[in-house]
Amino acid sequence: MVMTSFGVEENDARDRGGPAQPLLIVNGLKKHFAIRGGVLGRVSARVRAVDGVSFSVRKGETLGIVGESGCGKSTVARLLMRLIVPDGGEQIFDGEAVGEPRGITVAEMRRQVQMVFQDSASSLNPRMPVQNSIAFGPIAFGTPKEEAIGMARELLVKVGLNPALFGGRYPHELSGGQKQRINIARALALKPRMIILDEAVSALDKSVEAQVLNLLQALKRDLKLTYIFISHDLGVVRWISDRVLVMYLGEVVEIGPADAIYNAPKHPYTRALLASRPALDPDNRREEAPVSGDPPNPINPPSGCRFHTRCAHAEAVCSAQAPRLGHADHGAHLAACHVEDAASGHSQAVRH
């Protein structure tokens, strides 16, 4: 078996910071989309899609990002890949600032961070045999075509597809699960250290979803990968993630180890989100939605805590002042809620 080229060397030359250095640190990431109106195309409003998001990802761990539709999860993924340009914030990849004069360039970062998109169909070129799609990245970086196609066929084996059968096929000849395997193979082609999975299994059937999740876990172990796993499916996120980050209206409301978040959620929004999962016991069926209404418009987000319009514990301080997530050691369980802050003046605030 010719599989050596995708093994992991014990000492990866790209590992600059050592095991203690988080692979990715994001500080105050921000993206406001301008809405233009009128004859002159003046900016009439701004959508605060991502508003000051900070987190870090340690080497070899999986960070899950959850939240409702429209909370900015996918925008975060595209910002991290620099497919859209952030309006503010810094991104430090293995100790080096991305796109800064003395840091690492965006192109270099992209070689080490790859992405798998939600829509497995539209993320493959309909006019390209799938093995050419996989080989595109290596060819673009100077690998001879024959060799790159050979690598692509090895990767097909890695994701459980027979290259003789599937390599020359076009995307429309494959099922959704097979296409998503191809997308994963393409993401692996440049031997990345981190993969951002943006709703990568959400569009798949449950049985296929389980296969792909198992594949992802196996690849992570074999190739020493680090994942950012974005999904709205709480069960899947819990299963795959070491730590979980909860987003609401472009902000981080809670972050912490997966078990802590699921067993003892601190933020009222996280609690509502967890309670919204359908009960497995039909006698225990929940009749009322745990959180009512749609999320507020991100064009004019509520003042103070953005969740106060839907929160059962809202008080005057919640609409007046924005709660802070605070800083702590990596791995701590933090929530951006006044109830968690003894000095906030909230009547239910915990005393430490």
Partner: protein
């Protein structure tokens, strides 16, 4: 749960891995074309027309400029030597049609080719860049479009003198904008698909992303539209010749011949129709071939 993929395949042997025995994209297109008899027939016809125009000096039985008062407007087969008869000045129709093809095909194809290159690349750039760049490119081509083609042709020939090459400038300019629009629309549609983002996310240079992922998906509609413009271009060129701005009278040109012979329509309608039939055949086969090509380029067909 922690085992490897649930449906992992047995490892394929080395021959399977090392053998990328497979046609490329264009190999596939050619393969599909072979099973399309209509396209093949019209392709052969088009090839015949082009080849006969190129080989006109060796194929033509007579001098296309040789006039004769006594054998004007003779029917096909006259004296067993004039196979397609003679025109209003007694010149051999076959020779004139053969030589006319050289000028007419050049006038029909070159402006479209040049306009496709210029308009197509402008459209792809505009569609891919979006925003301000898109607006500038599209508005500038709109401004050019607002100026009438024929008027510009008169201005060009007035300022620089007539002649073949300059006669092609006006139609070329007229075709740039619609081709630019078609390319821009197709590119805008493709640009927002995830596979372009995925290609960009590899960190590959933009030019490779455009070449491999955008162009292939834009080429189809542009090619179809351009081929339909060839017949328009032939007619436009003959119109300009009629105004004395393109080809000058003794030169054989299908459009010009059509114009000159229309006065003889009651005397010998068959002769009159001949240049028109040639234009028709050329544009039909052009359209059929490009349609077949588009179908062959669509991997889903």
């Amino acid at each position: 749960m922690s085992t490897a993929t649930s449906d992992a395949l047995p490892p394929p042997d080395a021959t399977e891995l090392s053998l990328p025995a497979q046609r490329g994209y264009w190999g596939n297109v050619g393969y599909r074309l072979r099973y399309d008899p209509v396209t093949l027939c019209f392709g052969a016809l088009l090839l015949l027309i082009i080849l006969s125009a190129i080989c006109a000096p060796w194929l033509a039985p007579f001098d296309p400029y040789q006039e004769s008062i006594i054998r004007r407007l003779k029917p096909p087969g006259y004296q067993d030597r004039y196979w397609l008869g003679t025109d209003e000045l007694g010149r051999d129709m076959l020779s004139r049609l053969l030589f006319g093809g050289r000028i007419t095909l050049t006038m029909g194809i070159v402006p479209v080719l040049v306009a496709t290159l210029i308009g197509g690349s402008l459209g792809v750039v505009a569609g891919f860049a979006g925003g301000l760049v898109n607006m500038i490119i599209m508005r500038v081509t709109d401004v050019f479009y607002a100026f009438p083609s024929v008027l510009l042709a008169v201005a060009i020939s007035g300022a620089m003198g007539g002649g073949g090459g300059k006669g092609m400038m006006a139609p070329t300019r007229g075709f740039i904008r619609p081709l630019c629009r078609v390319a821009e629309t197709a590119t805008t549609q493709v640009r927002n698909l995830d596979f372009v983002d995925a290609a960009r996310a590899t960190g590959a240079p933009l030019r490779l992303v455009l070449w491999h992922h955008v162009l292939g998906n834009v080429l189809g509609p542009v090619l179809i539209y351009a081929s339909s413009l060839v017949s328009v271009s032939i007619i436009l060129a003959s119109g300009l010749s009629f105004l004395g701005l393109g080809v000058k009278p003794p030169e054989p040109d299908w459009g010009l011949m059509l114009n000159a012979l229309r006065q003889a329509i009651y005397v010998n309608p068959l002769i009159c129709a001949m240049p028109g039939i040639m234009i028709l055949l050329t544009s039909i086969s052009m359209n059929m071939v490009s349609d077949g090509l588009r179908a062959a380029m669509d991997v889903r067909s």
